[in-house]
Symmetry: D4
Subunit: 251 residues, 8 copies
């Protein structure tokens, strides 16, 4: 049941074709199903306006396939993240039109091309090794309908690269900064622009990096205001939030 | 030099009244002054579209007064945060019309009433003790021009309180969740709404709370997508970012 | 030597059939044996009222088999946890009637069906990936004789799922909450019910989750009173304690 | 509205004296009031069966008095924890019959003597310095109606002291173990008894104690099953949960 | 050059057979050799009175063999710790009389049987999984000449096992306590005896054990005086120090 | 009841003047008394061979006085550590012959001069600021009867100072190394001597010192074998253990 | 474009052969290229005076080859660090004259022999296992043109070894100290010399070493002034900085 | 005994006016004195070429005065750091010509004006609150003879300020970067220059700053090579090392 179906139901109630009690009843039976090991929340669609997402890490190929099948039957579209090659293969067999991005480790299935937003989500990353997280953010925002641009490998150790893309920064509606190592890029970008910045620390580094703790703390302590942070390596969360913010400007 | 003055300068260049070289020259002398102990960045106004802010923690009353005086002379308005009572007194002497909020520990000086936004920033907090941080967020967003609503003391241990304000949650454009203790409120709110959620962990707690580490980790690991986090007790950062996001919908 | 045998001994002493000194002597020879690498504590049975348990992690298949054999010879029943498939195979060869649960990674051997309790232990988990820990808790409580119900995949990001099972929550005598990610489920359940809640953080998560530290801190700081916590991934401990609490109501 | 009143309402509904709709309506208006800075949850009484509690740490004397006044007007009884002497004075002025325990830092106000439980909550502590936390646990369990016994200063460095109270340990229905330093008492007690053990680490220690982290980890890793842990110094939480478990045996 | 050779040299100097200058010269050429990747300190023998030890972790089989060969040629005896099976094989080929202990992961080569001490080093461990560390301690102390006894699997959850070996505890000259999980055994033993106790935390555990941090903190905070701690899993260090302390009583 | 009294009792049993049962009975009534807030363990004297110690931190002056009075009445001697000036004053009033050391923060009361040991406990410290901990160790070992020497301010940054006291190092029976900052002194001393070394990290430092964590980790990871560690700032524990080790050589 | 080419350009501008605007234009087109996954910063050469470096960890063999090819085409020389054997093979195929150091895990390609510096960079390491990091530092400093000496396996547990190389220490211009375990070597060397010391903690150790945290903290808290620290295992960074410091004396 | 006196002694030996044995003898009596609580190392002067420094934190005014008096008598000059106002007063009484800098918390006493270096040490800081640490670095380097320049309040949130001082950056011989908050300034400066950069994290910040841990980790993980780090707030160490590096270029 998507937004259109819900609107029709409410209209029917207004027109007297459906009693309010019936309406309540239909809505009350929340449309999730029980697979035994996972309750797929078809209704989240309604409450949050986004397609169903499968987070594949820690799930077997069989579990991914079973959940994917159910979602596709119900919605016809999905976004899968942290997809291992074998799980991607399973999803591609379910939906041959699926787009698999091995760098981002994502699979996207769409029923029809989504209209893209006017506003731009800009994903910017510091180093080559941060690409999987940055791409996950980009694929996610695109999957939900945002126009996305990407600028990669513009770390603060070579400041001129960053200054070169200043105009692209200023033209975006919301910016996702992905950085490992010391994560200083978020502060520098945050100081250059007036838009919201979503910072994603990555686990790329070694030693006193402590698997992402270093850039996480850097970003939380950013001296530039207007920067908020998501979990280490959480490209999906950043792309999803960036899309939500971007949507505000579309209305 | 604000946006209007800059636009006029660029128009003059386009019209030939000012040579590009002269224009470059004027812009090059960035309008900050050197007080010896702090370079006030009047220009940030231009780049980021916000008034000047004084973060008072760790500054002496004399330093706060000196910085405040310079800013008021140049801009006529300011926002001071983490203001101790003595520093607040000093600012009130400089600008009798200043509004001092002792709970939020803020002082706001405005030249003229700002028009408020149509979109609403909703600040919601879990416990009574989180109020100073929540109020700092609310005062900040209001100081920059956002319409702000607040809902306090709706922690997850009494879920019905939260369900009671569901409509207010759904009506806001962006939501700031302030919570100490275990910080679970951010996840619950994040699961109820489709808007961007900015989570602020607070240092309210004891024992294995580790001065805010517990809710910080909770919020970073939120199972609800669309939640981003700022530093522990950083009400200012949350209010400022919420305002930026809110502005997107005003354009 | 179980409780019945002990009672008979004490009666014999009271009746003069056994001198107190002899009684002391018999009890003094605690009935454990020395396998060289592990002292099996058959006597714990007596002091704590539970069958012998083998924690298999870090033990070789040969060690598991040797300990299992000795326990089965002495007691005829056992509970093995964290059983790898090979070790499970070894135990199944010793006792073909053994029940192996590959998700919970447990093997249970019983001499005869245990009567179940009237009171219910409810095990509730937040996500699909928390299943192994939740099942370990459920199998454990059942192995000791509790009636157990399970409700899985009701995380706080979809609050309606949780509200749907409210009656089941209220009907249980003690509740085990298993959650990874940010672990907020324990607080929400703790705020909904008046029964004791045992919270089990799991290592399911990534980044700033720090292998379970995040939900552990969340649960320790729960704003809902009446919640106590066991070690990360310690399904056994939770199920065992839940059974002990459940037993109080059976007397 | 307490349990008796609720039962009467439901009976009235069953008898037809009140329509279900009216009943719903009455219950729907959750009886909490808004003091501006804190929503007192009078209804928790109903859902959880316990009187209202004020956690005084971080609240001003004026806030404590205001909340206390409202609770006493509505319920006639309360439990206040972490009460500073000045706040205790304020509560004693509101209710001269209040019992103030300066070691436990608690104030208890009762309308009438509560009948005590048959089952015993035993609070046992390792060192003299752990007394405030142990007493907070004891006062709390007593305030809710449990019969409480206490055994103090029986740390594991003098094992014979602990062995001396073995019978008291075995006679209790639930045991609260309070320990700072290395917190080993919880493991030793957990190994001696078959009852549920609630362990409370305290912040008593220095150096590598890290304000309670050491005994917290000790207790979470206890080699004795059947031990669950609450937050560092959380005597209230332990006493409250112990009472809940104790109640199970009263029914 | 061992102690005997040194004594003879000093006697020669006293007797005028060697000038002091020559003596100085001989001693100055510290007898270590340079293998390029490791300076074997043959002289430590002289300063510290112990044979040469190879810590094999992180060394290749070839490096272990090369170092072992040089040591055996010079001293005829060695102790190797953390020896992987392949490296053990290499050492056995060098010295067929070598004793390989696969549980302790040690190889010992002796020129002749060492006379054992009258005093006893007692190694006591809490659980089966702590055996490798406990055995490393025992093998080490024995290799240097101490009489060693071992008592395994006497964790505090079954206190009677520990009480049963009380006499053995009291008869030893120095006690090494090896424990993973929560490490409480060190405190309990430390409270039972008047001898020096060396505590060794092990990495055996999971979750909030943090690879040995939990028992390390427990042992450092022991409420029993007279307990000192070595690094996590450092059986060698404990056995070596125990031997040194034991030797004091032999003189 | 001290060792002499116990010996007489056992002789009486052997001589038939006392039956074994009576003897058991007398020993069974462990001679500790209950002050309500602290069980003074007079019997520890017997089991561990040391006088009673009061750890004063966190105790009120009144509590220190009450415990001190009881101990002096029973034993006539005591050692108090972490004594604040006011508490010291109270103890001096109880026993005018008491020795108060304000640097070590100790008070010692002796009935008669103890014979000193032949073996020497050497306490060596790295910096001036480590003195309170080093002195606590020295006073403690002396209070129990050891001959103690001290060498202060010989940090590794001036290696020649350390080399100058090499002979003193070699002449001691056991060495206590007290060091803050990075704590390297323990490794250097450990590499120079063959005796047991007890290392005490202190909380002297700042920044990444983390109140003693830095030297604690340094000492636990010492590349010199034969070093064991006690808690941060635990001068008492080090002095006490050093005395125990020293005693081994006296027998 | 290297320093020579830049000098020629500036001379041409001074001579009028190139207009300043053209000069600006040429410099403005920063000479980096976009490979899609990594922007190679050929210009860093110009700003920092060093050849291009490939940090190979986390890069595929194909990525290493592609980046290496581009750099060699442009510059004819490179330094690759953290090179796995397969990646080394790929680089050797590109440039047969490349020098591969499997211990240091480095590949160096030079167009022509670099003149070496008069000043010496001395790399000193504590243990055999620290060699890879020490060699990485040595290879790096040499690759940029410094004269490098190395002294390995001189840990503080055998102080005489260190004293033996004192003259070499005093003769160097800058010293790199590489140490795992407790990392005390940096403090001892820092106290012996007047030159700058760069300390590199390594991840060599176990238990409370926490993968290099222990020596990192040791080195940051060094009681010897004049010591600065780089990241755990960061041999490259240390060698590079040592070279920079060494160059100061060449001018 | 300074370098001049030493040279004269060696010349006398070469000329036969002093025998080598006498020379050895004189040097052997290291010229430090024992004040009981601190060995002042007058000889460090000789080995390290710098005047004596008093680190005043944790020392009483009397101790500072006593140490200061002894140093001034011997050397006539000193540098005191972390000087509280009362201790500064005491030193000013000893040496009226002393320079007290209350921001840097330093006192400097010089016998005669030192000639300054040609090379420049540039101290650059991010925020106003970092001034005490930055000034401590500047005063220290100047006290040893370096020419020092300072640029304050140029944090990365206002990048243009930093770009404005680029020439000053390029002209220095060595750069000290002082930054609290997230500490990103070190990476940005490190990427702009080819000189050695010494980074000093400060404890200025709050929440997830953890008293300087955040910028410490940032700086250790800097993506710009050529950056080394000293302890949190260690302005002295940075200034001292910067001076040492600067001196290399003076020879």
């Amino acid at each position: 049941m998507d937004r259109t179906q819900l609107a029709r139901l409410l209209a029917d109630i207004a027109a007297g074709a459906v009693t309010p009690e019936e309406g309540l009843q239909r809505l009350r039976f929340w449309p999730y199903e029980d697979l035994g090991f996972a309750r797929i929340d078809h209704h989240r669609h309604l409450r949050q306006g986004v397609p169903e997402v499968i987070y594949c890490q820690g799930k077997t190929v069989a579990q991914v396939r079973a959940i994917g099948e159910r979602i596709l039957r119900e919605h016809g579209e999905l976004l899968a993240t942290r997809v291992a090659p074998e799980a991607a293969q399973a999803l591609l067999e379910l939906a041959p039109q699926a787009e698999y991005n091995p760098v981002a480790r994502t699979v996207v299935v769409r029923r029809q091309p989504r209209p893209s937003t006017q506003g731009v989500v800009l994903v910017i990353s510091a180093g080559t090794a941060d690409l999987p997280v940055a791409e996950e953010a980009a694929v996610t925002a695109r999957a939900f309908g945002s126009t996305v641009q990407t600028v990669y490998d513009v770390g603060v150790a070579g400041l001129h690269r960053l200054l070169d893309v200043r105009e692209q920064l200023l033209a975006a509606r919301v910016i996702v900064v992905v950085a490992g190592m010391e994560g200083a890029l978020a502060s520098v970008v945050g100081g250059m622009v007036a838009q919201p910045v979503i910072a994603v620390p990555t686990s790329v580094g070694y030693g006193a990096h402590f698997s992402g703790l270093a850039p996480l703390l850097t970003m939380l302590n950013s001296c530039a205001a207007g920067v908020a942070v998501v979990n280490i390596d959480n490209g999906f969360g950043a792309g999803y939030l960036a899309h939500k913010i971007n949507l505000i400007g579309e209305r």
